[in-house]
């Protein structure tokens, strides 16, 4: 690392920031002019223009392009109708990918939310609650790639000799043979899910713990006086009162799970029956060079999220109505 490397990079940073400030000033100036003439449409246009242009170029156009590509063949030279979709639902590997994705989007949100909820309840009001929370929250700050490295060291397998993977070491301490975890089909899917759960539980804990603070203590006290057991209080009082927070957590984790790419890429590369949609579409399009199939997998991914979007939009509509 030379000084010139440093000056080049920070020089670029400075130029970039100044240029950005200039753009902002120009936009405000325009908006101000339009405001004075009381043209709110123009003001709205100025305020929205940068975001809308960025999104059109960077997301809308690619999305449309993807849908178009999904009805063409591997190198985009021939219209094939729904052949790629037929492939996706008949080819055993593609089906495996879809089934795995289904497993992921059921297991990860469910388990993450459940552990997060239980943990939030357990540490609620306990001494050192903040520390407890921070420990579980930490993985959220770690990148998927970093998390994959961390967990590779847990799942590490050695055919003979001393184990350096924690899980296999624990097995050998109990006299069992080491297992090649990441190559063991079906099980390896769940081991990869563990990594995402490990990351998402922190998120669940924090949101749910905050929601718990909002549950009036009187209700819980009242239930306790009525002789309710902790488990009963949990199921009949706590859970219903933070229902909306639980749904939000589950939906957020659901979307994150559906888009998951890095963990599969870094840990198994999708081999040994561990592929999921978000990784397979990349694999098809970029590694195997089949644009049509990659695009098809991407469209299937869109389709899976649509129910969630509709649900969210309904929610929003309802809130709008309530607000009025």
């Amino acid at each position: 690392m030379d000084i010139s490397d440093l000056t080049a990079r920070f020089g670029l940073l400075a130029v970039g920031l100044v240029a950005f400030a200039a753009i902002l000033l120009a936009l405000y100036g325009l908006a101000e002019l339009a405001s004075r003439r009381d043209r709110s449409r123009v003001v709205a246009t100025v305020f929205l223009a940068p975001a809308v242009i960025f999104l059109l170029v960077g997301l809308v156009y690619p999305a449309v392009r993807t849908v178009v590509m999904s009805v063409f063949n591997g190198d985009g030279t021939e219209f094939v109708g729904f052949d790629n979709y037929a492939w996706a639902v008949t080819n055993p590997d593609a089906l495996r990918t879809i089934v795995n994705t289904a497993l992921w989007i059921i297991v990860v949100p469910l388990v993450s939310t459940a552990i997060g909820l239980v943990y939030a309840v357990l540490i609620d009001g306990r001494r050192g609650e903040r520390t407890y929370k921070a420990l579980v929250f930490l993985p959220m700050g770690i990148s998927f790639v970093g998390a994959s490295i961390i967990w590779k060291f847990v799942y590490q397998y050695t055919a003979s000799g001393e184990q350096i993977g924690l899980l296999n070491q624990v097995r050998t301490w109990f006299g069992a043979d080491p297992v090649n975890w990441l190559n063991t089909a079906i099980l390896n899917n769940f081991l990869l899910m563990v990594v995402l759960v490990w990351i998402e539980v922190g998120f669940a804990t924090v949101v749910l713990s905050a929601a718990l603070k909002g549950v009036p203590t009187e209700i819980i006290e009242a239930a306790r006086i009525d002789g309710a057991r902790p488990a009963q209080i949990f199921w009949n009082v706590t859970v219903p009162s933070i229902r909306s927070a639980i749904i939000v957590v589950a939906v957020t984790v659901f979307i994150a799970t559906l888009k998951l790419f890095d963990i599969v890429r870094a840990m198994t590369g999708g081999h040994h029956g561990t592929d999921v949609l978000a990784h397979n579409m990349w694999d098809q399009a970029f590694r195997l060079g089949n644009d049509g199939r990659g695009a098809t997998m991407a469209v299937l991914l869109f389709l899976l999220v649509i129910p969630v979007v509709i649900y969210q939009v309904r929610n929003m509509r309802r809130q709008e109505l309530e607000a009025r």
Binding site: N183, T268, G269, H271, F286, R287, L288, G289
Partner: protein
Amino acid sequence: MSKTRRISCLAAAASAIALAATGCGAPDEGESDRGAVPDDATDCANYEQYGDLKGQTVSILGSIRDTEADEMMEAWSYFESCTGAKVDYEGSGEFESDMKVRVDGGNAPDIALFPQPGLMANFKDDLVPASEEVTKLATEGWTEDWLNYGTIDGTLYAAPNSSNAKSFIWYSPAFFNDNGYEIPTTWDDLIALSDQIAADGVMPWCVGFESGGATGWPGTDWIEDIVLREGTDLYDQWVTHEIPFNDPRIVAAIDKAGSILKNESYVYNGTDTISSTAFQEAGYPLLDGQCAMHRQASFYGAMWPAETNVAEDGDVFAFRFPEAKEGDNTMLVGGEFVAAFSDSEATEAMRQFLASELYHGARLQTGPWSTARQGVDPSKATTPINEFATEILTDPDVTVRFDGSDLMPGEVGASSFWTGIVQWVDGDKDSQQMADDIEASWP
């Protein structure tokens, strides 16, 4: 090479220890010749033909990384200093996807070192065919077998960079000597020898297919070696899918591999350990006489523990995979092809340089490496195994065929073939079933 390079060091995802012990890719220490670049390669007079390229840059993308990349760039450094051109090399661990993203995104490197000729052909429309000069150098430098793999639709696009010999069986010369075993030259000899070793109380074979996410690829090499020796025509038809993957002759070849790989009295530690034994360390029991033979390409020479003497009179060495028919002379190979996406002056000069005897001679001496370039002196290679490999590769009488899984579509060669062979060796599928499933996955 493709998988091999990527994998040799890298995909060891689940087998860190293996790497640990090998220092994968790191050359043996104490090589006297290492780095001794020949005088003519450092003499700027030999670079005058490329002209003055000051201020020009050539960007190169390849899958070669780590020490090997440093050694390669050392061989390029004289080209840079003498012509004034700057060579910007980037080694990628995700070569296929990086190429795809960059070419489709209009951001292709000037030159790419393709480990898979099949992948290169996908980019045909963006490639610049070999110039007259490069074609001339390539024709004088490589046999027709080699140039075929750099030719797309009758036009030559690329000459090879490195080459390596894959049909190698590693053995312990001392162990063979002590027991009076002879190096087998036919398949029948090989089986007879295996039987004899087994009868003498030693397991004849060490086998390991584990390679993290790429587990199974060492098995594909076994099948390829056997199919190739059933007939080069059969091999060519098989890899180009002129015959289906489940053709009876291919199924028979898989069964033939099974006569070793699925033979409980042949395989050290038992056939059920093959798929979970890391390929990097699979050959090690050979060192203490626990098994007698291990099939792996020439690059395995760099993966033995650091103190191993890899030489014909040393601890381990390799002999050629035996022929099925007397008089055949075949070799399964891997390597990279130098393809260009730009026709700039500096790119053209670099292509000529990379196809020249000057470069291949120099590169042979900057580190453990082997090449098929005619005119180089194999004895200049830095290790005995690379000398042996280079001798075979530069011998025009040897029929070479490129690693089939690198020629098949990625869905097969880098996916279903791997998983198929693992299920087969684990006993989950028989040869017919495995071939049927792979055939079904052919795009």
